[in-house]
Amino acid sequence: GVDCGADSRTCCRQEFFVDFKEIGWEDWIIQPEGYHMNYCTGLCPLHMAGVPGLAASFHTTVINRIKAASAAAAVDSCCVPTQRRPLSLLYYDRDSNIVKTDIPDMIVDSCGCT
């Protein structure tokens, strides 16, 4: 997958860090200090459809060029997470118990086109 740059237009992963201190949650969330709420954004031109991430090899590039040239039935393709991991939280619940849990699929590691 590709991380978004300042002027990225095609499908990429936008980093977005939520600092728990900034939102006033540092008193009940013990660890970690924040949450990487990355998200996928950007266009998925036709020739990138179905390729998770960007062209990573000469072979993929050639296939992309053929697709673009063929301009088959124009179908929509979306920029979506292709790899995610859990968010491990250690927090105080309403009874001041200490709870640790791994919330699945909360952090986006990479994006690609459907």
């Binding site: 900034e22 949650w25 949450y35 709420m37 491990s88 619940d93 849990t101 919330i103 909360m106």
Partner: protein, 230 residues
Amino acid sequence: AAAGWWCPACGAAPGTQRDALLALAKRSILEKLRLPGRPSVPQPPGRGALLTALRRMREQRSDTAPAAFPGMLRDGPASPRPGMGLQEYEILSFAESGSSTPHSVHLHFRFSQEVAESTEILQATLYLFWAAPGRGAQPVTIRLLQPDPVGQNMTVTSETRLEVQRTGWTTLDVGAAVQSLFRQDTPRLTVELEVPEDWGSPLPSNHSDSHWPFVVAQAQARKPHRVHRR
């Protein structure tokens, strides 16, 4: 927008976009923790009690699976366990002292409704420290109580008698008791400790004492209810 759905952060001014994303992050975390809102400011346990509890847990499980509390928090999930894929919880609950007599005391352990409603207990262990006065074995009794469904009293669901030989920690499996109270409106485990008359209080002097009783529970999200069609 073309598809008619509203993107909370698209096209908005950077400041508004950031606020929308922060609100989205809060809502997403609270939903996944099944919390109606952020908990009120907690009353953290004493540092001594917390460090002792974490050390006891690590000793207790160093031979099985890596502990799952601070110092062990890692980016990814803990080592694979049975039922991997379902969200798991580790809960550390410190006792609240209840009614007492010169040689017995009630301890209360509260569990949050949100966790109790959506999980099932895999195991739960009660940790008790005995400051034995040291004159040979002393008989102590540990009773697990539950509110009587019809009356105001408490009913004894289990009773364990121990011979305490010397000062030190004792553990007791309370998994079944915690599992059954998870199905109640107020998931609260009450433990009664009774010691010989001349022993004095079975509890350390105050909450922050590093020998304060606690319960460690492992819970797992209930399997989603699947309807099989034939």
